[in-house]
């Protein structure tokens, strides 16, 4: 008896362990979605505000709308196509049937990324511009095999004679199918539909490759948001998606146990129970699909009711605008804005170059503007259409000449520096010196406390500047020297990071980190709002640094150039520039907007450093593909050592 209990205990224990292993990550995410701080490690009390935020976020709601619409339409289309195909395949002879089923199974086993890329290539090759319809087609494509796979077995169970019996009783072929065969295979059709719906909801990779301007589904949105950092509404959203998919799966797979009743009455009762459940399930499904359909069609209607023939396609960094600005622009001009996000300049470049999506206004960084201009990807801006350009401080236009020598292609949007952010409390506690210079990052006292940027140009900038060289150098001797310096620094570095620098600094995990100035104000506000017991200070190193500018440009293949100019002009308006500054907290080149700021902010030397203190600083230049390759291979040597 005791042994039995022990055995039982271990069985249960093992089961719990397995379940814990499988579900701990998801539970963590769901718990964090109720956490009242943005931290991933600290519990700040229970809140529903991320859920509220999520519901108010137009980007999320748009993505939700797209996701549901695509899932619904693609699942419906795939169900019709798949069911029809299953009927055809079912009546084939054995050999052709197994061949066709093999053909059907290959796309399912094929890796998503291959499917995604080949679909994208096919669309581009046939001149279909990427957008909503290409995502829809792609989803239908990968959903059909799943429907086929769930309908076919049902069809094979169905007696051929019931169809013939219906014909015999006077039904035409279609009538016979819908009255007799279809009800019989309906469970298979329904589960095929649900499977397709779920697959479509789930898909990220194929959507990622086939989507175009302004089309984000939840998965692509979550991907870009999570890469950017720590907005917990994404956890809330993920939690809701997980629970939805879970509910769908339970609904698809659960049915009361088929009891082998010996008596006729038993069989009868079991059958009745099964039917009742099937009816309930059918009812829930019908209600669910109806409500999804209602929501989707209502919002589609709203959207189209508000749509105009005037269009503008904008391609910008994530979190790089106050969204109310977009709405305001639409209201004031009547131009409908399709707004898309990118993560890095390098990600943006091929999209513009390929021209599969034609954007009208894009916001790249300095060196990338130079590269795009040199490769003929940019259109000259007609500055007569930009009366608000007068609010931009000419200093920045002068600075822009580094990458846009005649000021023909770009209008500055934000600018900033790269510097060192340090944790005052940690510096004090560990008795470390306050950093002043890049060369401080080689001080062994900081061992294990340094966060470096995980990107070639930024890392080399730090090393080159500390050596007193230009950060745009093409001199091989200077570059190898910088490489050796970076290698020597490796033991001191806690981690090479991009976005995680924010989390780590807020979490107090490192004493100092190389960071873009725009992040600084945001982090300082976060620290204050979370009542943490330390402060973060920013310093621009004395050797000079990277002075960067992100500017608006108009691609050469833009279709709505005048609208793009209206857009850029709108962003130069002082009230709009102020709104954007308050949202993105990156320094604005707009002197009129700056004048509207609090005195303390205007005088904050970290945000708006004196031009004199930047005398040693430079703007990144595009160095050409060959020099780029040299930088990359040297960086690889550093990372792999």
């Amino acid at each position: 008896m005791k042994r039995y209990r022990l055995k039982q205990f271990f069985q249960d224990f093992y089961l719990v362990l397995v379940i814990l292993f499988l579900y701990a990550p998801i539970v963590t995410m769901i718990v964090l979605s109720f956490n009242d701080t943005k931290s991933r490690t600290l519990w700040g009390g229970f809140t529903l505000r991320w859920y509220a935020d999520m519901l108010q976020d137009t980007a999320i709601m748009n993505a939700l709308h797209n996701t549901l619409l695509i899932a619904l339409l693609s699942a419906l289309a795939a169900t019709v196509i798949g069911t029809a195909a299953a009927i055809g395949i079912n009546s084939m002879k054995k050999l052709p049937r197994s061949i066709v089923m093999g053909v059907n199974n290959i796309p399912m086993l094929n890796s998503d990324i291959v499917t995604g890329i080949s679909l994208m290539l096919a669309f581009i090759a046939f001149g279909i511009s990427l957008g909503f319809k290409t995502v829809l087609i792609a989803h239908i494509t990968f959903n059909v095999p799943y429907v086929l796979l769930s309908v076919l077995p049902k069809l094979r169970q169905t007696s051929r004679y019931t169809y013939e019996a219906a014909l015999d009783l006077g039904a035409g072929p279609l009538q016979a199918f819908f009255k007799v065969v279809f009800p019989d295979i309906l469970p298979g059709v329904l589960s095929g539909f649900l499977m397709a719906f779920t697959m479509s909801l789930d898909d990220f990779i194929i959507t990622h490759f086939t989507r175009g301007a302004g089309i984000d589904t939840l998965s692509t949105l979550i991907y870009s948001e999570v890469r950017r950092g720590i907005n917990p509404s994404m956890y809330a959203l993920s939690a809701i998606i997980f629970l939805t998919v879970l509910a769908l799966l339970i609904l698809t797979n659960f049915s009361p146990e088929e009891k082998k009743g010996k008596t006729a009455a038993g069989i009868e009762a079991a059958a009745r129970k099964r039917r009742r459940f099937a009816r309930i399930r059918g009812g829930i499904l019908a209600a669910a699909s109806f409500s999804i359909f209602a929501v989707v069609s209502l919002s589609t209607w709203n959207r189209y009711a508000a749509s105009h023939s005037d269009e503008l396609y904008v391609y910008n960094w994530g979190e790089y605008i106050d969204e109310s600005v977009i709405t305001q622009f639409e209201e004031e001009t009547g131009i409908h804005v399709t707004y898309d996000l990118f993560e890095t300049n390098e990600e943006m470049y091929p999209v513009i170059e390929a021209g599969a999506v034609r954007y009208d206004a894009v916001c790249p960084s300095d060196y990338m503007i130079q590269r795009m201009a040199e490769n003929g990807l940019l259109a000259e801006i007609n500055f007569d259409n930009l009366p608000n350009l007068k609010h931009i401080d000419p200093v920045y236009l002068e600075m822009s000449r580094e990458f846009d020598p005649e000021n023909r292609y770009s209008v500055p949007y934000t600018w900033g520096t790269v510097g060192i952010l340090y944790n005052t409390k940690l510096i004090e506690e560990k008795n470390l010196p306050v950093p002043r210079r890049w060369s401080d990052l080689w001080n062994p006292a900081y061992a294990g406390e340094i966060l470096m940027q995980d990107s070639v140009r930024d890392a080399f900038m730090v090393a080159l500047k500390s050596l007193g060289y230009s950060m745009n150098t093409e001199d091989m001797r200077e570059l190898t020297e910088a490489r050796d310096l970076l290698i020597a620094q490796k033991p001191l570095v806690q981690a090479y990071v991009i976005d995680q620098v924010r989390d780590k600094m807020i979490g107090g995990e490192a004493a100092l980190g190389v960071i873009y100035s725009g992040e600084m104000l945001y982090l300082q506000e976060e620290v204050a709002s979370q009542n943490l017991d330390f402060t973060l200070e920013y310093v621009i190193p004395e050797e000079g640094t990277n002075l960067w500018i992100d500017s608006w440009v108009i691609p050469a293949n833009a279709r709505n150039k005048e609208n793009a100019e209206k857009w850029i002009d709108f962003l130069c308006r002082p009230d709009i520039a102020l709104k954007n500054f308050e949202y993105i907290t990156y320094a604005t080149p707009n002197r009129a907007a700056k004048a509207l700021l609090d005195e303390s902010l205007q005088n904050n030397k970290a945000i708006f450093p004196d031009m004199e203190s930047l005398a040693q600083s430079e703007v990144y230049r595009y160095l050409g593909d060959e020099t780029d390759a040299v930088y990359n291979s040297l960086w690889k040597e550093v990372k792999s050592r």
């Binding site: 007696s159 019931t162 013939e164 019996a165 006077g170 009455a265």
Partner: protein, 358 residues
């Protein structure tokens, strides 16, 4: 005779290059109970499916009441089928199953309700309206399948081995039910089976088929008592088929012994097949028999004993008798002249299949 009700003219059909029916001709009179009987693969089901409209013949015509219906789809034909596996619609109640054909024809509700009640009474399943298909036994499902077919008042009911899946007792009960139904409805039944007992019990006319050819067509008595060839004789009931020599009219020699018979016109000294039913053989004292042999096997079958008697030439005669002769006993064999059936020997295997004997 008036023109036939259903007339199959020179029907041929093959599947994947295998000839299933070859130039088949068959006429069915109105209000008859015709059974297509034969081993599996003989073409009987294909013939039925061609009449039902589920298969189109490669050649030949199907005439129904004077009209060519060869290319008419099944839903336009005035006949209904009862399928081997019942083919009830599993997602419908019994009442909905029965009403299916009537609803397709948009009959009024009161008419349909009456018909359902009538049909259920006819098949002795009153009160089953709201039951589900899977709560019924095989026999009950079969009767519902019949009810579902007959409510449409077909002029012909096609039945494809409808009793094949039932156990023996149920099968016998259903045979009586079908005969009763046929008499009550007064319509034509075309019945397919491989069970010769079923065929003999129910039919007005039996069509014995083999390898796509009709071997013999006639009343159950004719088929049983006067098989036209060895295949029919062998397939219908048990028989002794022996090599014989027709000495002259009304005299045949079997295993060296001469038997009087009633057949004429086979010429003289011609080799023939001789069919003798086991129950037509009388075992007598050795000195009274035309032939003598030794009892080598004995089985009690209930109604009678089944014995095997081996004659000196080595042939084992199957004998049914209510009188017992123990194993090892020497017995005489005697057969009345009218119990001996003489048939021509087929010249080749093909001819055997076709059953040529004229």
């Amino acid at each position: 005779m008036s023109q036939p009700f259903i007339d199959l003219q020179h029907i041929s059909k093959s599947f994947d290059g295998t000839l299933v029916l070859d130039d088949l001709c068959l006429s069915v009179k109105e209000n008859s109970f015709v059974t297509l009987l034969g081993p599996s693969g003989c073409g009987k089901t294909t013939t039925l499916r061609i009449i039902g409209g589920f298969e189109t013949p490669d050649a030949g015509r199907v005439i129904f009441d004077g009209e060519d219906i060869t290319r008419l789809p099944p839903n336009k034909r005035q006949l209904n089928t009862v399928f081997q596996k019942y083919a009830l619609f599993p997602h419908m109640s019994i009442a909905d199953n029965i009403a299916f054909g009537l609803r397709i024809r948009r009959k009024p509700k009161s008419y349909i309700d009456d018909k359902i009640r009538y049909a259920l009474r006819l098949v002795n399943l009153e009160g089953f309206e709201h039951r589900t298909v899977d709560s019924l036994s095989g026999g009950q499902q079969q009767r519902i399948a019949i009810a579902r077919a007959i409510v449409n008042e077909p002029r012909v009911l096609l039945l494809d081995e409808p009793l094949g899946a039932l156990d023996l007792k149920l099968r016998q009960d259903m045979q009586y039910e079908l005969i009763r139904l046929k008499n009550e409805l007064g319509i034509t039944f075309i019945y397919v089976t491989h069970d010769q007992e079923e065929a003999l019990t129910m039919s007005d006319t039996i069509v014995v088929m083999n390898q796509g050819y009709i071997q013999q067509m006639g009343t159950p008595e004719q088929i049983y008592n006067e098989p036209e060839n060895a295949f029919v004789a062998d397939f219908i009931g048990e028989s002794n088929i022996l090599d014989g020599l027709m000495i002259r009219d009304e005299l045949v020699e079997i295993a060296g012994a001469r038997f009087a018979c009633v057949d004429k016109g086979f010429g003289t000294n011609r080799p023939v097949d001789v069919v003798i039913r086991p129950e037509d053989i009388d075992l007598v004292k050795p000195e009274e028999g035309t032939l003598t042999g030794v009892v080598t096997h004995l089985i009690f079958k209930g109604v009678h004993y089944e014995m095997e008697v081996t004659t000196p030439d080595g042939f084992e005669w199957l004998v049914h008798s209510t009188d017992l002769s123990p194993v090892g006993e020497r017995v005489g064999i005697r057969v009345d002249p009218f119990d001996i059936q003489i048939m021509n020997k087929p010249a080749s295997e093909d001819e055997e299949a076709v059953g040529v004997n004229e």
